[in-house]
Structures are given as structure tokens and as C-alpha cells.
Symmetry: C2
Subunit: 268 residues, 2 copies
């Protein structure tokens, strides 16, 4: 099999990374995807650096068993703490979601004032601010942890009055900072776009790293001559560490359609 005909590996703490997987399949429809969601240990966003690194390393090992050609970390918390460490530990190319999102935000912000919302663990890592300021030292970055957004998305209250109240509480300090760009620094948050846009107002651009990350994946595959050449339609696979049932239900909400192939696999 040509090297490029191996699948793209994507992992996330659970289900949120499907928003990234969707963008990858949209931009690279001929590529085959192996997705792993660590649903037995989800969420990562409230857990420590040490645990997130350990879990992320385990997830790369799971994907390597499927002979993937590249690993995409479709989880902001995992990217925050583990990307640099995993890049040193593994030979396979690894792409995270933070650099692409940061780059895009820098491009679109006219006022040079960027907001970042994410899980407590991602915010604690300060990785978005560091990445933005390294690329564009003149930027002002304001960050806010939003721990209730993930449970609200998982509950399916995407357009609920309660979600809007929570968003107002979390986002008011960001609005006061006069930002014109808001990075959705968690792969669950694109599902809240309608409410977030309403609360932030039309003048604020929402940046979702999924699309940008998919572009980075394409560029990497092109640069390494790893694009898939097979003309057979790709057969994506979805693996989870907990039983697949709950994943299937919430995945349908994320993707708008059923996932045919979901099965449980063990770490180790």
C-alpha cells in the first residue's frame, strides 16, 4: 500500500473533535479517517496537565495500531498540554488545533484585540495567548474559562434560554474588553455559534479552529507527499473507549447524521 493510502488519525477526549473531523472530510473527501474518542475518561477540560498528557499519549498509541499516517489532536486541552511533548516522543507528524486557530484570529482581528474561550484546563495552560503573542507580539488577548458550555452542548441545549444566560455571564467581561475576534477554543463550542454570536454581537468574528486545522492537515499531506491515491471510497472508522451508545446519540447532534461504524476499543 502506498504510504499516503494509510488513514488520517484523529483523537479527542470524546465527541467534540467530530467538528474537526467533519472539516477534514469536507476539505479532503478522498482521505480515510480513524477517529478515537476517549469517552471513558472524558472530559479533559477539567483535568490536570499531568493526566491530560498521559491520556493523550495513550490515545496516540491507540491510533498507531491502525497504521495512521498523521495524528490530528482535535482537542484544545490536549493540544495545550501535550502537543509539544508528543511531537518529541513520536516520529509521526502531529497537528494540533491551537496554532491554526491562533493564526486565523490574528488574520481577522482588525482592532488587534482577541478573546479566547475554552475549558478551565486550556485556559490555565495559557497556550492560546502564548501562541498568539509569539506570532503577533502587539496583540491584546483576553481569556475566559467556560466550564458549563461542554455539559450544555452534551445536554443538547444549543438554543436554550439557560445557555444564553450562561453565555452572558461568561462573555460580559470579554465584551467589556472591546475584542473584535473570539476564538472558540474548545471543539464543542462551534455548536453554540448562534447563541455566542447573539451575545457577542455582529461586530465580533467567531473563529473555529476546525476549518483552519483541516487546511494545516492538507498542507502537511501535500508537503510530505502523503495524499491518498486510492480511488476506492474511504471507509471512516470511529473508535471510543466507553460503550458506543451515548457517543452515537451525541454524534448525531454534532454531525446531523448517523455514524455507521462505532466500536469500543481498549487503551494499552
Amino acid at each position: 500500500m502506498p504510504q499516503g493510502d494509510r488513514p488520517i488519525g484523529i483523537f479527542d477526549s470524546g465527541i467534540g473533535g467530530l467538528t474537526v473531523a467533519q472539516e477534514v472530510t469536507r476539505l479532503l473527501p478522498d482521505e480515510q479517517i480513524i477517529y478515537f474518542g476517549d469517552t471513558a475518561r472524558v472530559p479533559y477540560g477539567t483535568k490536570s496537565k499531568e493526566s491530560v498528557i498521559r491520556f493523550s499519549r495513550d490515545n496516540v498509541h491507540v491510533l498507531l495500531k491502525y497504521n495512521v499516517k498523521v495524528v490530528v489532536i482535535a482537542c484544545n486541552t490536549s493540544t495545550s498540554w501535550a502537543l509539544n511533548i508528543l511531537r518529541k516522543e513520536f516520529k509521526i507528524p502531529i497537528i494540533g488545533v491551537i496554532e491554526p486557530g491562533a493564526r486565523r484570529a490574528i488574520e481577522v482581528s482588525k482592532k488587534k484585540r482577541i478573546g479566547v474561550i475554552a475549558t478551565p484546563s486550556t485556559i490555565k495552560s495559557d497556550k492560546y495567548a502564548q501562541t498568539i503573542l509569539k506570532m503577533a507580539p502587539g496583540m491584546k488577548v483576553v481569556s475566559r474559562a467556560c466550564p458549563l458550555f461542554v455539559p450544555l452542548v452534551e445536554e443538547g441545549w444549543l438554543d436554550h434560554q439557560v445557555t444564553e444566560s450562561v453565555a452572558r455571564e461568561y462573555l460580559t467581561p470579554l465584551k467589556a474588553e472591546d475584542i473584535d475576534t473570539l476564538i472558540l477554543g474548545c471543539t464543542h463550542y462551534p455548536l453554540l455559534k448562534t447563541v455566542l454570536q447573539k451575545v457577542m454581537g455582529k461586530g465580533v468574528m467567531l473563529v473555529d479552529s476546525g476549518t483552519e486545522t483541516a487546511r494545516s492537515v492538507r498542507k502537511l499531506l501535500e508537503d510530505h507527499a502523503l495524499l491518498r491515491s486510492s480511488t476506492r471510497p474511504p471507509r471512516h472508522e470511529f473508535l471510543v473507549s466507553d460503550e458506543p451508545e451515548h457517543f452515537r446519540v451525541v454524534a448525531k447532534r454534532f454531525l446531523g447524521h448517523d455514524l455507521p461504524h462505532v466500536r469500543r476499543v481498549d487503551h494499552v
Copy 2:
């Protein structure tokens, strides 16, 4: 060392079980406690039967290393799925939180109409309804999963307008069933008592299994002649599978005071 001078082992998916541990120390102030919170894999309430059983078994093994004399499962989801299985697998006496809570609810309900609120996984197990109907076949039991309550407690929004709105949404169907007793079927929920009582009204008695479970523990220790005889003040220990930092912060909210001894341990 006399058999009774060994510690009481208590485990939970994370922090909620501290409400049970507190009741145990209140009722049995001379006893020493080893508490284990599986904070690396928390929550259990959104996970499958299979994972919850596996995690619970791991937790018993952790406690056994500390030579405990009894294991208290201070987690409703874990009790729902794993109690009967663990009782068969281990020789040590094991106590869960569901039987005590069910017994108390049956005692206090005059209308014989009991509500149960808990995590999705606990509600799915149907264990409360089964236990109540086995003890008192004439009861009417109405159940409701409340997935956002745990994140709201962890966020510290105990008395927040959003929490009240969420409670109204979850509890309205239970109010319509004219229950006079509501079992708080998750060890996080006692922290929401004020809001829950407000939403349910004064006519509804809230049953928190912590106190009842502590009584069961005392009875078991008495029956097995396992009460502690040492006159040295007990030194409680708190173990967690993620780093202790976040646990310490939220534990203070649960207990109203700092926890001096918290450290990370690995499973296996």
C-alpha cells in the same frame, strides 16, 4: 492491631462522596477514613454500565491496599451498576448509597409517591425504582435524569439564577406527579438543597442518602464487632487519581474547610 482499628474505605467517582464521608465522620467520629476519588475518570454519571463496573472494581483494589475493613460506595452511579457484582467478587463488606436512601424515602413518604433525581447512568439503571418497589410494592416512583446539576455544583453556582432555571426545567414534570418525597440520587445534589427545596416547595421532603448510609455503616461495624477501639485521634486520608489541586478547591466548597492530606495515587 485489632481488626476494628483498620480504616473505613470510601470511594466515589470524584468529590461528591465527600458529602457521605462527612456524615460518616459525624456519626462515627472515632473512625479513620481512607477516601478515594477517581478524579482522573470523573464523571461516572454519563458513562456506560460496563465502564462504571470496571472503574468501581479498580477503586476497591485501591482501597484494599490500605487495609480497609469495609468499603462504602459513596457514588450512586457506581452503586447502581456495581454493588451487587462487587459484593460477589470481594470478601470485604461493601455498602452502597441506594438501599439506605430508598429505605428513608419509603419511611417519610405519606402519599406513597416518591421522586428520584440522579445522573443519566443511575436513572438508566432503574436501581432506585427497583429497590423501592422491592421494599414497598405499593409505591409510585417517578425518575428524572439531571445531567447539568453536577457541572453546576462543580462550577459553584449553588445559589445562581441559572441553577434555579435548570432545576425548574428538570423538576416540573416531577412536581406534576404530586410526589411528597424527593431522593437526591447523586452525592453532589445535597449542595443544591436550597434551590431544590425552593423549586419543589415546602411540602416535598428531600432525602439525602449520606446520613442514612452513615447509619448503615455504623450498624455493620457494630454487627461485625469492627468498631475502632484505639483512642488516638483518627487521621483521615484523601486519595485521588488526578492531581489533587482541583479536588482541594472543590472539596473546600463541599466541606466548608480545607482538606490537609490529599495526594495522587495510581490505579493498579
